[in-house]
Amino acid sequence: MNLMCILYSVVPTYQPAQKSQNKVRLSQVKVFDNNFKRRNMAEEYKSLHPIKYYRDCLAHDIRPDGRAFDKFRPVLLNIGSIDTTDGSAIAKVGKTTIVCGIKAELCKPKADTPNQGFVVPNLELPPLCSPKFRPGPPSDQAQVLTQLIADIIENSKCVDPKDLCIYPDKLAWCLFIDFVCLNYDGSLIDACIIALVGALHTLTLPSVDYDPSLDNKLVNLEDRKPIPIHSTLISTTFVIFDDKIILADPTVDEENYCTGIVTIVLKGDELCCVHKPGGSPITEDDLFDCIDKSKLRSPLIQNLIKTALKQK
Amino acid sequence: MALCEAEKTFVLHGVEENFRIDGREREDYRPMELETDIVSHAFGSARLRLANTDVLVAVKIEVDTPFPERPFEGKLEFFVDCSANATPDFEGRGGEGVAIEISNTLSAAYSSPNVFDLKKLCILKGKKCWKVYVDILLLECGGNLFDAVSLAVKAALWNTQVPLVKQIDIDGNNVEIKVSEELYDCRKLDVEKAPILVTVCKIGEHCIVDPNVAEEQCSVGSVVVAVSEDKFSTILQTGTGSLHMSTLVDCLQLGIKVAQRLDAALWDTLTLECYTCSTTEDESDTTCLDNPSGVVGGVTDCDKKYCIIVRVDYKDPRGKLASILRSCVDKPTYTNDVIEDETHRVYYRSCRTAKCNGGSGRSDSTSDDNGSLGDKSTIYCPGIGDGAVAVTVSFSILLFAYAFVRYVR
């Protein structure tokens, strides 16, 4: 299956209303400084005074990429295109691209949880995806996000480690869920969670005949079964700009210049996780407003996942 | 060290002239010096000096489990350590790139089973195998690292003694191995086909081999070839330049030709030519005693360390030959000795140079001449031995000596 053909030629299943005339020409942004009337002035202005540039834009009730404050970017999902994995998906939220690949290996369960397998998620932010990352060990951001995803998976119980046990105390599956960011343009968690759900739905594991007396394992590659998935997670990110304006589904620049960030993860209709790592405070009303907005978005994403699965 | 444009031009014109700055022709190597078996606690070792390039290789062997996907094979691993003493560039992590490049190239060169058969290192399928660690220490860099390292590695592997396995105990999943305790109960690794690396360096329009540091800087690009017998086991382009297709083929041709010469030279040095024959008093043919070079098939390329003579004479009649044996061994019973019993006198003679066991055996003339071993002061004048250059040396000395003041008067 040609992965990018799907990513690019098929009309995305979920596309928020957005017309091209909505797009702000950079040159329309009003610039106060007379000295700056050169060809690339808007771009230069953006590079020199990014925060002011944003304020000027937002004062006109529009975001630099032409979206209204509460509009989401189009989401694309492609599943099962990497056949060296046991389950894989590629999710795009606007330009943010996340590849999720799941590889299953066999291992011995931990002594204190003999009937549980392992789920090992890791998010990789390679230097490829953005100029702000350097080669070497994972950045702080990657570590924080990895832990957040691990917590979300564990708390939501979308995969039950008990389902991954083959023979108590002897043999279990270990799912290595690796996320790789290919393009970092904000709302990373949203894209990760969509990719995760997509990949989990395509995940199949071969059946294993285990003989505990001899410690013999025999894997039947032909007999592959999906694992039970207990819930569908949807995550939505908002940023708070200048302590008052709330922007949905931020781009990387909006994330950089904002004063606070909130990520809301829903499990169906239930609230699963709210992640707000410091920054400017958010009022209760605003928070509920955000949750409502994510609730509205949730069925659309679920639909997208279903359509993607059907297409496969 | 960066060269200036003028120096580069000088080197370049020299290559075009087929008279390099140290007097060599394009296909000439600088003389080398090899020492084997110099690290006592290693299983095999070698040290090679090529002008100012100095490489020490030690081989260590351990018992290991084979890779699950290759149950029949042992393991071979190369590790290169770039000492900061070798060149100031290696300070800190400066040598890392070079180290990885050399070790990767060696692994690739030794990867084909036609070149080095890892199956011979297997002890028990899927359970036990030998793991050979080849540790390469760069002591000094004087150009042409790849070639020097590959020669030293081959010599060290040739020198390596793999202990013999006496007994294998299998108990369920546990396997225990007993290694022969006898120190000299070993086998050698089969390294006859082990690859030799040759760096062919392109300077201007010509290709040269064995570049020194200055020449390496002038090169637009070079090709490292690993040659085993008449086949390439690895080819790697290095340097920052690109090569035309025909140049690449030229380089390969030159590389394979030189590599075969180099391999032959190394083999000549490693192996020891000894007379091998024997005769007893009952035999009428005394060629072995009087003229060992006359014996048909009486000279062997030994891969042992010593040529020996064991001569047994009667005490009565005094000096009458009972038997004589010319041969080669790794460890002579007596290096140089005369042992007497009631009836016989036995002469043991051993030596380490080619065809040195040709004497009568009575005198000590075959003794090992390694008195200069401890003297490390000899240096190489690159290209010395090339007739054209050496002839007029004495003439220039006179003109020139006044320029120096030697404290050692």
């Binding site: - | 700055i21 090899l34 250059v389 030697r406 404290y407």
Partner: protein, 242 residues
């Protein structure tokens, strides 16, 4: 013959000593007693312990009247005013060019201002000299930390053109009246006091080739001269390591 590759065993090494006579001077090692007479004065390379004069470096004893000093066999180059040095540029800076006199121990001796005339000159510096270029120069002054200030004001000094550089121990070069020699065998040699020896084709006096900052890259040096240069290079190496 030349196509043959020579690999020899270390055990077959022969010592080729060119020394004409075998008379060696007495070499003192650090800590060795030189004299116990206390009428002598303590010079460089010596120290006094229990009224006994001992050597602090490995070298030969030198005596001037009552002053005893030990001259080390090998030592770092210590510059003196008026020394001729050959050096390689390691760094070009705005106001000065660092001239590292590369010793075997690879110690960088930052040299001082070579010249400074105008602001334009500063900016053009890189066009005269680049990293890696070889120059010959004279030591102008020595700073207290031992670093040298060089100058190239004479036409004899300047950027070096085609030739070969040989590095020997600085102590092997004797200070003499002239360090520039045109050898009758058809080559020129500059004996830098810092142990760097430059060997090049005969310099034509009329041209004043070395002076200034021009290099002739087009000129092809004929085989004959190359051979001569090759021989001298080897001689230098063999003399220095004997």
């Amino acid at each position: 013959m030349s196509k043959k590759i020579h690999i020899r065993l270390a055990s077959q090494r022969v010592n080729t000593s060119v020394a004409v006579n075998q008379r060696y001077p007495k070499i003192f090692t650090p800590g060795q007693e030189i004299t116990s007479h206390n009428e002598f004065m303590r010079g460089h390379g010596t120290y006094e312990e229990d009224t006994v004069l001992k050597a602090s470096v490995a070298g030969v004893r030198e005596q001037v009247n009552n002053l005893i000093s030990v001259r080390p066999l090998k030592s770092r180059y210590n510059g003196d005013i008026g020394d001729v040095v050959v050096g390689r540029i390691t760094e070009v800076q705005q106001k000065k060019m660092e001239n590292s006199v590369l010793l075997l121990s690879s110690v960088n001796l930052p040299g001082g201002e070579l010249r400074r005339r105008s602001v334009e000159d500063e900016h053009m510096m890189r066009q005269f000299l680049q990293e890696g270029d070889l120059i010959s120069a004279e030591v102008q002054s020595v700073y207290s930390d031992g670093s040298l200030s060089l100058h190239t004001r004479s036409l004899r000094y300047g950027k070096l053109s085609q030739g070969v550089l040989v590095t020997v121990f600085p102590s092997l070069i004797k200070r003499s009246k002239t360090h520039f020699h045109n050898l009758p065998v058809g080559a020129s040699i500059i004996l830098g006091n810092n142990g760097l020896i430059w060997i090049c084709p005969t310099i034509n006096k009329v041209e004043e080739g070395v002076g200034g900052f021009v290099q002739n890259l087009e000129e092809v040096i004929p085989r004959q001269e190359r051979e001569t240069i090759g021989r001298i290079t080897k001689l230098c190496i063999s003399f220095s390591t004997e």
